[in-house]
């Protein structure tokens, strides 16, 4: 796949369709796949990678890239195309300036899950018939493929590209996913259990802002948390409003816009399951206002910018489930 992508990228650079390519390159370690922009065939040959670790969603970079001169080629996995569409819908990405090549999605691998097995000094990982052959400094190890797949791929919602100019490989289908299972499990707990769960999780937060910085819905020119006039900016971290409410406000700001790409939880250094907050909003929106998948198209009105005269009352929250 990687070769096919490099070949096509070179062609598109050569015929002038695009003047840049956004994809992934290796970081410090081979599994640190980082989004990168390539300008020449030579750069592509030297650095471009596409493997089991190229998880990052590059859509967000197109907010800035699509405003530069010339067209850019973007390789998008199915989940990334939802974010892409959502950003096009919000006029954040200029569609005409991007040439989208759809590429197959995951499941991608999470190095942390491999390390969690006590496997260290990893040099390379190969998938052979859904068994991972792991070369390490200390010898070869094996583990089942499915035990190492990334959290965001475990509950994949779609293998279908919702936006592309061309595809490499076959397109897939929207999947029946189990992504709301954990939300449901929490909903069925008592309020106190839920509170304890979240207190436990959110107290780990170090406010590194990684979730915000990676989130394709968080593309504000000036984030409210950085704006001294917003009343929620970070003035005195010891006891600021923002620290307490950061995640609620962030989740609310992306409600109805979050495509559930899972990047927030993927990048969280403290492993806080932040995606559960977003999924709670998605689940509520689906059940209260009708099925809605952000980014599925570029025209449907976002549920929070829309209404029905017979929408339910907020008291529904107070009436359902356990307290």
């Amino acid at each position: 796949m990687q070769e096919a992508m490099i070949k096509r990228a070179k062609e598109l650079l050569a015929d002038g369709t695009v003047n840049r390519v956004i994809g992934w390159k290796k970081g410090e370690f081979f599994y640190d796949a980082t989004p990168a922009v390539f300008r020449t065939a030579e750069e592509l040959d030297r650095q471009f990678i596409f493997d089991d670790f190229t998880q990052a969603n590059v859509s967000k970079y197109l907010v800035k890239e699509s405003r530069k001169d010339g067209k850019i080629l973007a390789f998008l996995k199915p989940c990334d195309t939802y974010s892409f569409n959502q950003l096009v819908k919000e006029h954040r990405i200029i569609r005409e300036n991007v040439y989208v090549v759809g590429v197959p999605g995951g499941p991608k691998l999470d190095i942390e899950k491999i390390k969690a097995k006590g496997i260290t000094g990893v040099l390379s990982v190969k998938n052979e018939n859904y068994t991972l052959k792991i070369e390490t400094l200390y010898g070869t190890e094996e583990m089942p493929f499915y035990e190492a797949i990334s959290g965001k791929c475990e509950s994949c919602k779609s293998k279908k590209h919702v936006a592309y100019d061309e595809l490499i490989g076959e397109d897939g289908e929207v999947l029946e996913s189990n992504r709301f299972d954990m939300v449901e499990k929490l909903e069925n707990m008592t309020a106190e259990e839920r509170f304890n769960f979240w207190q436990n999780e959110l107290s780990k937060c170090i406010r590194c802002n990684a979730c915000r910085n990676v989130c394709p819905a968080c593309t504000c020119e000036n984030c409210v948390f950085d704006n001294p006039k917003s009343g929620v900016d970070n003035k005195a971290p010891a006891d600021s409003f923002e620290e307490k409410m950061f995640h609620i406000i962030r989740a609310f700001h992306v409600a109805g816009r979050c495509t559930d790409c899972g990047e927030c939880s993927r990048v969280c250094p403290q492993n806080i399951p932040l995606h559960l907050l977003n999924r709670k909003f998605i689940k509520d929106i689906n059940s209260l206002y009708g099925e809605y998948q952000a980014g599925a198209d570029t025209t449907t009105k976002a549920p929070l910018n829309d209404y029905n005269t017979d929408d339910c009352e907020p008291s529904i929250v107070h009436e359902r489930g356990v307290e």
Binding site: L186, G231, V232, F241, F252, D284, D311, E313, S315, V317
Partner: protein, 146 residues
């Protein structure tokens, strides 16, 4: 749950200028009592209430927050309260999801003619919040575990 007889909850009520604020005035004109715990903030429309205001109130020590607007269909600005309804439903649902007591949040439609309803709602809401006691969970949410 701690029961403190002397506990006086702090309650913030956001009222839209056209219906609920006028309804609150009417309950004053008719001398209909409700607890002094309730402090009203006037907003042009219930749709002006940013979830950040609600969270801010809780963080600064409010024990209950109630939003009042025109009845659906009666919004002075045609559609404002319909947006309010969705936003606030989702926000309250999220607070519930985080384990915050449900009775600390409420949304009521009170028209300019419903002075009696305004007083009833405030009496009821204050009682509900009083029963819950001091709001600890929202203030605590991020706090390091003790």
């Amino acid at each position: 749950m701690q029961v403190n007889e002397n506990f006086e909850p702090v309650i913030v009520a956001f009222c839209c200028n056209w219906c609920s604020y006028a309804g609150a005035d009417l309950s004053g004109t008719n001398r209909l009592n409700y607890p002094a715990n309730v402090k009203i903030i006037r907003v042009p429309c219930s749709c002006r209430v940013n979830p950040m205001f609600i969270l801010r109130a809780f963080q600064k020590g409010a024990d209950g927050v109630i939003i009042c607007g025109c009845h659906p269909g009666d919004c002075h600005y045609t559609s404002g309260n319909y947006f309010t309804r969705r936003r606030i439903t989702l926000l309250y649902s999220m607070l519930d999801f985080l384990g915050i007591e449900r009775n600390r949040t409420r949304l009521e439609w009170v028209s300019a003619a419903e002075g009696a309803k305004f007083a009833d709602v405030m009496n009821q809401f204050t009682e509900d919040v009083r029963k819950l006691g001091k709001n600890r969970r929202l203030e605590d949410l991020r706090c390091r575990k003790q």
